[in-house]
Subunit: 222 residues, 2 copies
């Protein structure tokens, strides 16, 4: 299927935001982006519009677009919702996971284990972590839910990166994964729900603390 140029742009800009090339608060100049990508302003504007509605950037009328920038309060709120939705995925997955999906979950969990024990490639663990959670989302057998929770994950990505290097987080995360996998495979929906909720919300609190202690990230935006 042939994409439109504006969609490609949206994805590229989104990637730049996710990987920190465009930090929160950064002003996005339409003309500049258009030149950089070798297109006119029109498709750039369409891309920005989409990112705005998706919540990744903010367009203020007549004053241009900036990469969305969430304060500690809002981050806590977003993680609170994320935790609820992830918990819901876990609860449903515990009831609905097919044998194939069970095997797939175990497989990615094992790969997480290897990455966690190696320790010296946090990027790899980060990526496998996404796959692990993705396996649970898919297991919910609720496509709409899956889309929503992936979407939220996207929006939080620029902030999660900050936490990559937090000391000792990876082994702790993996520990929690073990309990989650056990609960899901045992079909204990409510337990999986609780464990996942806690697993996610603890991250939210960490991020919020981090953000609150590093106000410079908000200051040096432009």
């Amino acid at each position: 299927m042939k994409k439109r140029r504006s969609e490609e742009l949206r994805d590229e800009i989104e990637e730049m935001i996710a990987f920190g090339k465009l930090p929160p608060g950064k002003h996005l100049d339409e003309t500049e982006l258009a030149e950089r990508f070798g297109v006119s302003r029109t498709p750039v504007r369409e891309a920005l519009n989409q990112l705005d509605t998706a919540g990744l950037i903010e367009i203020r009328p007549r004053r241009g677009a900036v990469v969305a920038e969430f304060g500690p309060q809002r981050l806590v709120e977003m993680f609170e919702v994320m935790a609820e939705l992830e918990g819901m995925c876990g609860r449903l997955a515990a009831r609905r996971l097919s044998p194939d999906e069970q095997r797939a979950l175990l497989a990615v969990h094992d790969r997480c284990k290897a990455a966690a024990q190696d320790g010296d490639d946090p990027d790899l663990y980060y990526q496998l972590n996404d796959e692990f959670h993705g396996a649970i989302y898919a297991g919910s057998h609720n496509e709409f839910l899956t889309e929503q929770v992936w979407n939220l994950r996207r929006r939080l990505r620029p902030y999660r990166r900050l936490q990559l290097r937090a000391r000792g987080r990876i082994p702790k995360s993996f520990e929690e994964h073990e309990a989650i996998v056990a609960a899901i495979l045992a079909g204990e929906g409510e337990k999986a729900n609780e464990l996942l909720r806690a697993h996610v919300i603890v991250q939210g609190q960490r991020f919020a603390d981090l953000m609150a202690s590093l106000p410079l990230l908000h200051a040096n935006a432009d």
Copy 2:
């Protein structure tokens, strides 16, 4: 604050969708809309883009936009998520509602009662019902959650309208509200959660059944 024309258009088109003037599946012609509103295609396109990202319409590359049309399966999924988020609002509201907000909740609940007993104005009850749920959302003291759940409610609006005239639904709905209010005011978060979840999901199942039994709504789209 001065809005841009494209935002006004977005709201107007959204309203037309919500009120069934543009039924699910209806093809949206950019030129036609532009003429109808007396503007060029540009702001119309921006509006459509936003509605697309928000999930109210679907834009298929090179083939134009249609009002989003959800099958029974997807409706069930959406209500499943809606139920979870509403339940979450209830759980949080039970813990966080301020005295003022408690009074406000009771007030709107009373107005619901009057409308339910009158019986002969389902539109009024529909509107008050929105306010009732809105009071609970606000009581969660989580703005992000509130935005998300309102957003979902918007997307489901064209379908909820179908159910307006379902026999005996209004008294039943009001009964459920009573239990929900009681739980929230008593600070029983988990109970409020459960009651709201059930309250919403039952609607989803009704809609899905209705949809499944009326495939004509899908057929006569164009």
